[in-house]
């Protein structure tokens, strides 16, 4: 039974339910008190011990149902082959058959083993063949074969061959029945593997794809992965949010706050039993994000906006701007519209026109310069390709001098900076950080760093 539970954990893990050894121990203890007798009871009890959030409860229920029903094999006696049991007379195997088969377990099993026996034998073989390791659909054939081998298929086949060659009437009859049984065995094994695959590997492909997307260049991501990307970015934003949501204050031990200490201890005649220490307040992160959505970064613009969306969930005081030919503020759209409507709306308003960095910077400094102060971090997402217009580096200097820091994230690798119409090398001088950032992973790392500077005491 230990093995059953372990396999169950593995199935759960494949569905993104995290189970630590401590939880596994709890589950074992739970099973000890609850027992395997009452299915619903067991399900409820295990769910309470193992699933740790609302989503996990859903996954758990699905997985439980799938896992604990899989041993249901068809009973072939009634359905498939009613005549075979009649022939051998009340289920007793004739002695001549017995002699011919000898002590081959599998042959006996396919001949007249019950569905339960068959299920158990297959389960055992599956454990030996490590079926729980199955990952890909293409492995199904391999694992089916392995299970059958472990069950002793080779010996069965040799036996059938031998019986066929023999002249004896009874022997060829038996061979026929054995072949029938073997077909049944194949079918069951195939079904069994399919169920196992569903159980252990359904999400494996998805996980693999997501890992791959994390490392892919934003511009190269297929539009059909947009939904998936959305989910990934969301999750990333949520992680960042929980990481930085709290910790607004830092107690600085060592400096006594005299005023508040006296106030707190008035009840004790002013004798300072309770001390209050001075605290440093941590600034809320103030971020201004300016996003290039022009033709040259068209492929990644969508994801950059998606990212702004997620960032908006993390940081309450985010102000977003988008530009190509000119620049507009998009904070309202980020705040109130759903992603599916918001991104097309932004792209519709300013997207995909020839870039004019100079003009956009002018727009920004004219209309929105008051959003910058010495606590603001400016993040610019763009390739710095300005179609040979005046880059207006003077305005860049204004922004640089006013803000706490300016971070430029460029989807192009550094070797391309300054080639052609790229003004990156000139802009770079006015950035505290200028980095190549092309994958979701890069984005996550950089934003994490930015937020960290705010929360460091």
């Amino acid at each position: 039974m230990q093995q059953t539970l372990e396999n169950f954990f593995r199935a759960l893990r494949s569905m993104d339910v995290r189970i630590s050894p401590a939880e596994a121990i709890d589950a074992h203890k739970t099973v000890d008190t609850v027992g395997y007798g009452d299915r619903e009871f067991l399900k409820d009890a295990l769910c309470i011990a193992l699933a740790k959030s609302e989503e996990e409860v859903g996954s758990f229920e699905e997985c439980f149902d799938m896992f604990f029903t899989r041993e249901e094999f068809q009973d072939r006696r009634d359905s498939d082959n009613p005549s075979s049991s009649d022939e051998s007379g009340d289920g007793e195997r004739s002695e001549s058959d017995q002699d011919l088969i000898g002590d081959q377990e599998l042959a006996q099993l396919v001949l007249d083993g019950s569905a339960t026996d068959m299920a158990q034998a297959m389960e055992r073989a599956a454990n030996e063949a490590n079926v729980a390791n199955i990952r890909f659909g293409t492995q199904r054939g391999l694992f089916t074969r392995r299970i059958l081998d472990k069950m002793g298929l080779r010996d069965l086949e040799l036996l059938i061959l031998r019986l066929k060659r023999s002249e004896d009437e009874g022997a060829s009859d038996l061979a026929q029945r054995l072949e029938q049984g073997r077909r049944y065995l194949f079918e069951e094994a195939r079904q069994f593997i399919n169920r196992q695959f569903e159980l252990y590997a359904r999400n494996a492909g998805e996980q693999l794809r997501e890992e791959f997307l994390l490392e892919t260049r934003l511009g190269a991501i297929d539009p059909r992965d947009a939904k998936r990307m959305h989910r990934i970015v969301r999750r990333m934003a949520k992680q960042l949010a929980t990481k930085y949501a709290k910790r607004r204050k830092h107690t600085k031990r060592g400096v006594l706050d005299v005023r508040r200490t006296l106030r707190r201890n008035m009840a004790h005649d002013g004798i300072p039993f309770e001390t209050v220490w001075k605290q440093t307040k941590i600034d809320r992160p103030k971020i201004v994000a300016i996003c290039d959505v022009s033709g040259s970064v068209a492929a990644s613009a969508r994801f950059l906006l998606l990212f702004l969306y997620s960032l908006n969930e993390v940081i309450a005081t985010l102000r977003g701007y988008a530009f190509s030919g000119n620049l507009i503020e998009i904070s309202d759209i980020l705040e109130h519209k759903e992603v599916e409507q918001g991104i097309p709306e932004i792209l519709d308003k300013v997207g995909f026109r020839p870039t004019d960095y100079g003009r956009s910077l002018a727009d920004f400094t004219e209309n929105h310069l008051d959003s910058l102060d010495r606590r603001t971090t400016v993040i610019i997402l763009g390739d710095g390709r300005s179609n040979n217009t005046d880059p207006r580096t003077d305005l860049m200097r204004v922004i640089h001098d006013r803000a706490k820091s300016v971070i430029w994230l460029n989807p192009e690798p550094e070797t391309f900076w300054g080639t052609g119409d790229s003004e990156m090398q000139r802009y770079k001088a006015f950035c505290h950080v200028a980095q190549h950032c092309s994958t979701v992973k890069d984005l996550e790392r950089i934003i994490n760093d930015v937020l960290k500077t705010y929360f460091r005491a």
């Binding site: 630590s20 409820d44 309470i48 011990a49 959030s53 004790h268």
Partner: protein
Amino acid sequence: MKNIVPPHGVDEKLASVESIMEGLGEVGYIASRRIATALFVAQNLSKPILVEGSAGVGKTELALSTANWLGLPLIRMQCYEGLDESKALYEWKYGKQLLYTQILKDKMGDTLSDTKGLDEAMERLHGFGDMFFSEQFLEPRPLLKALREEHGAVLLIDEVDKSDEEFEAFLLEILSEFQITIPELGTIKAVKPPLVFLTSNNMREMGDALKRRCLHLFIPLPDEKLERRIVASRVPDIEERLRRQLVAFVQALRAVDLKKLPSISETIDWARVLLLLHADSLEIDMVRETLNVLLKFEQDIEAVERDVAELTRKENQA
């Protein structure tokens, strides 16, 4: 000290899921099978239960009802930002210590008057032990109280998600070992492990360490059948027909896209209001006027008001 008769048969009462469901039903809490199972497992594994679910589905009520049914004292600790161990665990009674020092000053003078030199006086003082840092001067706060209840207790740590991360970490010792350490007194272990409920509204994700130490119970919004039973148990005077209609109405309302879906407590409140107004069936005007009991946001009320007529008609036909 208090003279409570030790509650009988707490263990027997928790011995099976059926008896738990029945028992909670007696005190007016209609528990689903999963809730009862959670209690059962918690009792057997001696683990706290982390109860999650949207506001008003009966998370806190579960703890209250359990305490009520088992006849155990309920010790409740409301969490909030800035809650620290001096408010949750123990506090020295500074005022009393101060007062006693004042009163005992003369006495001390007498006691020490015949000693020669500082050393000897000090020696004698040491002989009295830790006078001012002993149990008499300890003010137990909820957590310590729960550990010191001789016959066990129900400890409710309400809205644990509102507390700080440091406090969450501080809870770990008490949740896994049922013991706490006070530097001046040493480690205090529970006489009988209390039954612990933690509730959370998911204001923030709880840490893995805390989750790992708890059983997890998610209470969803109830289905129609369960909700009818709950209303019947909480508002017994309401008529069968009205009860059926109002529950169906609320269920239909939950399918609408609202900012805050009405949960069980709202249904019960609404049933009470309708009872007060002597309603015997749902009428459009009355529903419209009492909608603010069910819905807590202006936008939600506006959104639903338009459909009230249709929703009510449908439920009346049903």
